[in-house]
Symmetry: C2
Amino acid sequence: MSGHHTIAETEKAVQAKLGAVPLRREQMAAVSNIHRAATAIRQHLENSVLRTSDLTWTGFVVLWVVWIWGEMETRYVAEEAGISKGTLTGVAKTLQSRGLLERLGHPTDGRLAVLRLTPEGEELMADLFPKFNEEEVFVSDPLESSEAQSLAEMLRRMVTHLEANGEQRRLDLRGDTPLPPRRSGRRAKHG
Amino acid sequence: MSGHHTIAETEKAVQAKLGAVPLRREQMAAVSNIHRAATAIRQHLENSVLRTSDLTWTGFVVLWVVWIWGEMETRYVAEEAGISKGTLTGVAKTLQSRGLLERLGHPTDGRLAVLRLTPEGEELMADLFPKFNEEEVFVSDPLESSEAQSLAEMLRRMVTHLEANGEQRRLDLRGDTPLPPRRSGRRAKHG
DNA sequence: CACAATACTTGCGGTTCCGAACTATGTCTG
DNA sequence: CAGACATAGTTCGGAACCGCAAGTATTGTG
């Protein structure tokens, strides 16, 4: 189980590699540990509670969002779940095919689509979520309750900050040079 | 930019949906915000510094790991990068094809493979990492330096805890019932 | 009613991703 | 030293994933 290097060792190696470069270690450690933790937690949750229901992480998150909010327009589901609209179309299709989710047209605005859990989906989430939460408690075991709160609050500030200022920042960074096209992706037809 | 719901609103909706269910809110908020923050940060970094070099997040992380540690056996690279061995094979292939990474056999143990940056890879990372770190500072803007340290430290504890106890926990949870096979995945050849 | 804006879907091209099966190599043991 | 076992890496099936372009349908507007 234990890796080749602990986080502490990694941070020391970075220090050695970058001794000359002026870099901000606290922020680096914070960001890098957010991703380490996210990966480790996701893996644990997938292989404990999710796997038995043959749900992927993303599938579960989508179900969760719809469950919490009830009927929800797809664009908001994508945003809350942290995936693109295009990806959501596919994930929703998978979940529909398993009878967990249904897709409804909006009564007044014909452009909109709304997602809702089926009764089976409701039942699954009612069964699954307590187990999921138990594992959230397990992974948070090394934190005092007050620490967990403080952790959540700091992360919330980061997310809010990014939502408020991220786009402007990216704009400023690239100045007048437009974003280079991706290597992949659909090409314009006409040429 | 701003989403349909803030994190605070989401937490309130969860409370409403789950008022009856005894669940641990602090831990839930902590875990869920870790993933929200990870997603938001990853997206920001991809669309600011990584995109211009046509690097994906994972590609960058792999380069970073190899850069920090110098030559490294692939299994450790995968572990440090938080991806499976199989994924690493593909990612390394992509990076090799762009001339950033090279793959060497181990001199004494023929089973091992070792990864190392090419000079181009070294140059890219020397150029890229300071920019990357600047954005790490940007996303950490709402945190005091001491807060960033405390955040990193709490997350480190969670990761360590999972590394030490996660596997046993998953074993205990599923008792004697073996893990169900995934829907996807390779099937036995012979019949 | 022409025309712009909006919302979703579809499809492309590439990448990532897991995990089990498979291959190759090394190590242990009778 | 042969057979069993262990270890490292690759291959492969199925799914997820993005960003973009293009397509479909609907709504709002001058």
